[in-house]
């Protein structure tokens, strides 16, 4: 029993060290666990595959440095697939860091012979979030007179084929939330509802659950959540990247956290059990006259909010 009580009060730094080891060891010595393709990723891949060759797509880089590891690998994996279909890419960003991420991810297109201004463009950053995206959707040139590299946007060949959101065969947002930028709800409203342009999302793990409703309703044609989805997408496109490399560490870390949860709960039950003695139960029965010292009997403790029976 002692050991569980001790475990309950273990120094939090022990957990930090275990967590660090769970990530570090598989990073240095990868196990190479096979990655299965899940339905949401396959559906997204199939949807992108069904887009007309040579059409234009719009990609929003709506994330900050903190989520780069989740979303940049998704962008690169998608770009490989789009390039294999000669689809033209227009990138824009609602976060200040977005254009630089776009510039870095768009580099993968060079191996396919893509030319800047003809096959892809990085329009850069726009301020104002959803209303500005709405204005862009109605008339892209009204928001961007110059692109991220300083070119006159109206003179770029790729932008001559685009007069509104309707001209994109697909829109995609790589999104880590609406704080300071354009969130996924905003993209659904402005791309799908206002212009009928199909939308797919690359989101952080945090946002996967809440955006699943859009997938089920058909308002979003596909969702890729975090590094795991990137790894699966890399497998589908045959281009191994950052996502695949990180999956072993992800596995061990998840197992460790589940083990923490299980251990914590076993500890709670084991430590709590002896306190529910028959004597104390009878003492707490209504109408019982048995004396019980306040504080000495755990069952007399006030129930904490969210505790038993709530």
């Amino acid at each position: 029993m002692d050991i569980f009580e001790k475990l309950q009060n273990l120094d939090k730094r022990v957990f930090y060290i275990l967590m660090a080891l769970a990530i570090a060891i598989p990073t240095i010595n990868p196990i190479g666990l096979p990655i299965d393709i899940t339905k949401p990723v396959k559906d997204t891949f199939d949807f992108v595959q069904s887009l007309p060759d040579g059409s234009q797509v719009l990609i929003g880089f709506d994330y900050e440095p903190g989520d780069e590891i989740d979303l940049s690998p998704i962008a690169e994996a998608i770009f490989h697939q789009l390039a294999s279909k000669s689809i033209k890419i227009v990138a824009l960003a609602s976060y200040p860091a977005g254009p630089t991420f776009a510039e870095e991810c768009l580099e993968v297109l060079e191996e396919y012979g893509y030319k800047y201004g003809e096959d892809y463009v990085n329009l850069g950053h726009y301020a104002g979030g959803e209303p500005t995206l709405a204005a862009f959707a109605n008339d892209p040139l009204s928001i961007f007179a110059r692109d991220w590299r300083g070119n006159d946007v109206s003179s770029l060949a790729i932008m001559k084929q685009v007069s509104s959101m309707k001209d994109f065969s697909m829109a995609m947002t790589l999104n880590d939330g609406p704080t300071g930028g354009t969130g996924t709800h905003e993209w659904v409203r402005q791309a799908v509802m206002a212009h009928g342009t199909p939308l797919i999302m690359g989101v952080t793990g945090v946002m996967a659950a809440s955006n699943q409703t859009y997938v089920q309703s058909g308002q979003c044609k596909g969702i890729l959540a975090g590094l795991r989805a990137a790894a699966e997408y890399e497998k589908l496109t045959g281009k191994k990247g950052t996502g695949t490399v990180g999956m072993d560490a992800q596995s061990i870390a998840h197992i460790l956290i589940v083990a923490f949860v299980v251990l914590g709960n076993i500890g709670m039950f084991v430590v709590r059990r002896p306190r529910v003695q028959p004597a104390s139960i009878s003492a707490s029965k209504p109408g019982s006259n048995s004396p019980s010292k306040p504080g000495s009997d755990p069952s007399s403790k006030p129930v904490t909010p969210g505790g038993e029976g709530k």
Binding site: M19, P65, A127, G128, P131, D139, I257, V258
Partner: protein, 207 residues
């Protein structure tokens, strides 16, 4: 009084109503004005970007002055701020120097700060994630299944976790999240309406 109280209310009302009408009705004149409003708001919003920077400078310049140049943290912040701006403006945002700051200071530090939560979640999972009642047990169970079902090793240990994760995500999760989304949207629309008709003047600095 008119300029301080009534004018902002009129501006919010006109802007809000125009963009709503332009969306639902095909009236070219209104749609053109709505597009003008959207474009103008994008220009005004650019100026809002600088507010955060001004606030940071004010606070840290104050810190430095009060400590008579001994607040090294604030000095470092101001120095980095100034260097980044100088590099971005004079060398350009596609220059190697700008990318250096972005790739080797901003991204590593930003994602390290974000990833601290992975460690905190680890301890929280052990100390606080307890099945004390039915709600907590459901939360814990679905959380653990999803954690296992999302990784290759989890699928090896508990193969059923993969189809279960897919089912939780596309059925149970959708049922719960959709209620939250609809309820949130109703509240959101109510607040938006209050802003447009001038009942929520505090949102733009009024009383």
């Amino acid at each position: 009084m008119f300029a301080k109280k009534t004018l902002p209310t009129i501006i919010a009302f006109v802007c809000g109503v125009t963009v709503v009408i332009a969306y639902f009705f095909n009236i070219p004149f209104i749609q053109a004005r709505a597009q003008d409003i959207l474009k103008w708001q994008s220009v005004i919003a650019v100026f809002a970007l600088g507010l955060g920077a001004v606030n940071i400078i004010r606070i840290h310049v104050n810190n430095v002055q009060r400590s008579q140049n001994r607040n090294l943290y604030s000095l470092a912040l101001l120095l980095t701020f100034a260097i980044t701006i100088l590099v971005g403006v004079f060398a350009g945002q596609n220059s190697d120097a700008y990318k250096f700051i972005f790739d080797y200071i901003n991204v590593p530090t930003g994602s390290a700060i974000f990833s601290l939560l992975a460690f905190y979640i680890g301890t929280a999972a052990y100390r606080a994630f307890r099945a004390k009642n039915a709600e907590a047990a459901i939360l814990l169970l679905t959380g653990c299944i999803v954690m296992l079902g999302r990784v290759p090793l989890g699928a090896k240990i508990l193969p059923v976790s993969v189809p279960l994760t897919n089912w939780i995500m596309s059925v149970l999760n959708v049922g719960g999240q959709r209620g939250v989304m609809i309820a949130g949207a109703i509240g959101f629309i109510a607040v938006s309406l209050r802003i447009i008709v001038g009942l929520e003047r505090r949102s733009y600095g009024g009383e």
